[in-house]
Amino acid sequence: MKRWTLALWLCLAGAWPAHAQSDTTHLLVFFSNARLAADPADCTAVTALDRHVPRTGAVATAALQQLFAGPTAAEQAMGYRSPFSAATAGLLKSLRVRDGTAYVDLHDPRAQLAGVSSSCGAAEFQSQVHRTLRQFASIQRVVFAIEGQPRTFYDWMNESCGPANGHCDARPFAASPKPQGGRP
């Protein structure tokens, strides 16, 4: 009996990496999945998936990088969908979090993500990014830019510049020379 108990203990121990907590950071990314959505026509509906990345303090940056790489083939087989894919993995130019607002600066995505300026495409894009970033308590609002220019992004998305996007003020993006992350 003791030998069986020992064998079981060894099996369980082997299934859980001894350094999992210290070497990796656990994050969530949010993708669409019509099979799991209450309303399959709801383009804003998203479902969380786990991601484990090498330990980092720049968790918001890491989460966006994971999101922009899109769902894996196995996840796609389970019905997860996203405008993002391996082709957009390098989309994030920089991220700065200040006073509850995440300033997301993108490399020009318009060729790869042409569909996200439609009403459903925009809902998918923004829901997935917003939910992924708002898992962190330090982020309540998200403002986007393309190559440092928020007006370029919001023109592309057919959205007016107003209070919700900081009136397309480019200054918060100019002060972020390299990726940073919010710390939940």
């Binding site: 969908r81 996200v116 300026s117 009403s119 459903c120 057919n158 007016s160």
Partner: protein, 230 residues
Amino acid sequence: MYKTKFYKGDYLQRQLQANADKAVAYVEHHFNSSASEQAGYAVVVVGSNASPTSRNWGRWYSRAIAEQFGTKVAGDDGILVGGWNGRGDGNVKHTQMPALLLEPLFGSNPQQAEIIRSASGQAALARVLVESIRRFFPKGGLIAFSVGHKYKTSSPNDRGAMLAGGGTEADHAEKVLELAAKMLDEQAAPEPQPRKLRVMQGDKLLFETQVDEDAVLVWSSDRNLLFIPD
């Protein structure tokens, strides 16, 4: 009866020009897109300041499209007032006439993309649009057409989403609008109806005669007579 004009430039410029031209209706044509190939419903964006005419027109169009292609309508019974999260609001809210931003089908849905590419599908889309215009603007007038994404001064290479299987959203939206313009332009002006004087008792017609368009009819209570003065 109807005239059509295609407006180019950035979306604000298009709307301001249509206002200056006193268009009676404004239509911007797009197609929708999703990461999911299954998504496929009809929806219309109306401005956050949309009139009841815009809302009713948009709902009628969405329902007619859904019926035509066997799909459903989304949003608030077929319309998104102010667009999704403001997206698309600026495309139509600056007009002084009823205005719609159409998203009748999904270019990302392979079956719907086939419809969008086909001549019969484009004709069906144009027919529904033309019927909606005739129904809501029966007096005719200038109809302003705007091809979504295409001809923007600020982004001249924009063509919107790629269709599943090939082609672009904007090029096919333009084909539908061109067909609709042709249908509206070719519509014969209605035959002028002669002015008639009728005497009725309830629903029963007692007397009818044609009178000149500019004739003045005067009722004389003394003589108990309706007459046309010399």
